[in-house]
Symmetry: C2
Subunit: 213 residues, 2 copies
DNA sequence: CGTACCGGGATAATCGATTATGCTTACTCG
DNA sequence: CGAGTAAGCATAATCGATTATCCCGGTACG
């Protein structure tokens, strides 16, 4: 009925870390989290251990937990890994996707195009709704690959990228993300694997290049 | 000095799961593990949660933990994912590797070639030493890619594959793995990215095809 | 003046017991 | 005789307290 304390604390902590409420390398003290969430130490520990498994926290033996260190280098490595893996998965998806997949891709693209990128004008951070739609579009593109392992890898890298982006100063001078997404959708639905893979590689690579050092 | 109980139990449990001491979907009862290892419930729980993070255990809310279900399908998906990702990483490694890398690749290949595959004649399972050398060779090949994210992904997939292989009946009729490894080493050190990537893709794909249904 | 040693305080790790939950089985009612 | 239900049991989840470890500051010695 009511969600388990463990689940609740885990979700709250995960959201907080991803939202940037804790600075990188900041210690995540079990005792503190336990009291603020009104639970026992074991529950806080459990939530932290689950975050470690997701790569959203680090375990320092006998020194507790901390938000993982992020920075320019990690951001670029994540982007490179995505640029390496995602186009290959997209090729599989284009080869295997059916009408159902095409439909979902169109829907996801439409949702993404219709979602405002920023909450307020001049905001530096993307809106939650847009982030969700963005992830949804990219994931939907790959879902037809029919390989849960590849999709898990995508999820993991995407989540890690969200954390890294939160702590990197990213600039996208004059970049038209919408156009890139539209072109990506078009190439995928046209079953042009070469073009789609190239577009996706370029899309992700520009993400890496958009880093202000 | 002496390793932390948590670490010890975690290592023991991890080894046991990978070694196949527990059948897939078999419940991993915290209480049982705690008593057999002479520790408290919290320690057993912690070890299990860490295993979940590695994909070596499943968490069923309010129903404890279990060894993940494996089977032909998962085995093939893992092989396909590896065949998708590893050749791409190898291209980066070939592009970026230096003399130090070449040296380590040669060393790893030599060690692998000189390690007996089976403990005893007619044994169905690979020897631990060979498994370690095999992993070492493949990982060393990729290490020059210089991308920790890709290497982490490799580690994760390899570990998952070891678990899946343990519970799949795999046959390799007339296959000469040594020759494939030698050819792979040769192509990599010759900096022939196309040939090396093709060989690696083929090598991993045959692993998937070697499944007896 | 620099370095090695030694408490004191904070925090992580562990424990044993308690509470909550989900499964099983026996029973009752239709 | 079958379906639904409720008690009992096994197990997971949680708690509060105890123990071990690390980090920091002070101090003595070279």
């Amino acid at each position: 009925m009511t969600p388990q304390p463990s689940e609740r604390v885990y979700a709250a902590l995960r959201s907080a870390v991803l939202h940037g409420d804790f600075a990188p390398q900041q210690p995540l003290k079990p005792q503190e989290l336990a009291t603020t969430h009104g639970v026992s130490l074991a529950v806080a520990r459990e939530a932290l251990l689950r975050l470690v498994g997701e790569g959203l926290a680090e375990r320092l033996p006998n020194r507790g937990f901390a938000v993982p260190a992020t920075g320019a280098e990690r951001w670029q490595q994540l982007a490179e890994a995505r640029a390496t893996i995602e186009p290959a998965a997209l090729r599989l998806a284009i080869e295997r996707g059916d009408l159902e997949w095409e439909t979902r891709v169109r829907a996801a693209q439409h949702r993404l195009a219709g979602t405002p990128v920023y909450e307020r004008d001049g905001d530096r951070h993307f809106s939650d709704a847009w982030s969700q739609a963005h992830r949804g579009f990219h994931r939907t593109l790959l879902e037809a690959c029919g390989n849960d392992v590849l999709l898990d890898t995508f999820d993991r890298l995407w989540t890690a990228s969200e954390l890294a982006r939160r702590w990197s100063v990213v600039s996208s001078p004059g970049r038209d993300g919408s156009a890139e997404h539209r072109a990506l959708e078009e190439a995928a639905l046209a079953r042009d694997a070469d073009r789609a893979a190239a577009l996706l590689h370029h899309h992700v690579s520009r993400t890496a290049a958009a880093l202000t050092e």
